[in-house]
Symmetry: C3
């Protein structure tokens, strides 16, 4: 690894860490491990032109890989269920604090033929995702379940209610 690479990795690591903390997420506290993932993201950025998930096989066609550009569409559901995203780059607060151990995480990404299911179709039978509301600040988001922490006021998951 050249000096420039080390600097680049450090820079991206710090940027991702700040963005994560500001938004109520956490990078894996194992810095050595995390920096390896960050390096893979830089390599994928150079190879494909976008930072595809380091732990999945990218097709190289951006429109087919949109859902696995890091952070992937499956991150939040995996953090909720397993305490970490598929790669282990992002972890839950419990894992961060050592109150929960990481286990292996099954692949949540649907097979290719099911991925294209249009949100527009789902809308015809109601909203494609439930909308949750932070009772503290009124923040709204549409997800399978509320975020671990409100990205606006940092209230915890249990302060969210179903809104629509």
């Amino acid at each position: 690894m050249t000096d420039i690479n080390t600097q680049e990795i450090q820079r991206l690591y710090e940027k991702l860490n700040k963005e994560a903390e500001d938004g109520g997420y956490h990078l894996n506290p194992d810095v050595e491990f995390t920096k390896q993932l960050v390096e893979s993201l830089i390599i994928n950025q150079q190879r494909y032109g976008y930072p595809a998930c380091p732990c999945r096989l990218a097709s190289g066609k951006k429109e087919e890989d949109l859902d696995i550009i890091c952070p992937c569409d499956y991150r939040d559901a995996d953090i909720l269920e397993y305490g970490a995203c598929y790669c282990g780059l992002y972890v839950s607060e419990k894992v961060l604090k050592g109150e929960r151990k990481l286990q292996s995480i099954p692949e949540r990404r649907p097979p290719k033929e099911k991925r294209s299911e249009s949100v527009t179709q789902k809308i015809q039978t109601g909203l494609p995702y439930p909308v949750y509301r932070c009772k503290v600040c009124g923040y709204l988001c549409a997800r399978e379940s509320p975020p671990e922490v409100c990205p606006i006021c940092k209230a915890k998951k249990e302060r969210f209610e179903r809104f629509m």
Copy 2:
């Protein structure tokens, strides 16, 4: 007060202050007073397992106290009407700048038997809260009235419009 406590208070004070400013809120500029409240939050965290409001009597059952975990569900309405939350921990920009004096703040929390009124019931007769939209960045939130400052783009309250 031990040295460790002072450090702990300072740490939580700085964390809450950063989170407040990032989200368009403000801690009370009377640092001495504010740190006393922060200390009470730490004590409540140790006693109950969650940082119940320092100025209210917690039941000790988390599910009954959710609405008064700090920041409480009533903070934003009190800041809007009285310039500060019930405790005086969070204040409006006018109070911060000394353009408005603090007065005593009546208890907004409903009596226990009215607290459980289900949002789901309210939904059946339309949305439980109006949705406001920041005209500058499109941020949406569901609250009795818009926030003092848009947490995303920092546009002021008067730049919000009723959206739903």
Copy 3:
């Protein structure tokens, strides 16, 4: 320019820069030029009591100028179409990186008689703006098109989908 003014400009410049970066926006990287705009904002703040757009003629009546208080209601649409807001204070990522040149930007603000068109009227025939959802974190916003970057999780525009 007095010393105090230079300090004031520097302070506001830094504040706006931090707020922009935190929310996925960027100030014009030509710092000299940008600070002139920041100075004009301070002058307008003193003259009118609010930071009206430096490149437009304010009426001096706040309720008539709400849409051109900086950041103006037209910023995001101009950044999307032209790579910068009308003044050139805020620029797109491409412009920031030198991958796109700035051109002159036509005035998007409607003539006065069309400005007052009530959002309430638009609501009667459906929502006044489409609602977009970040597929990564579930952030919702109501705008003509998605933001360049999700202000919560920093996912890019192409990760947004139409939600309502």
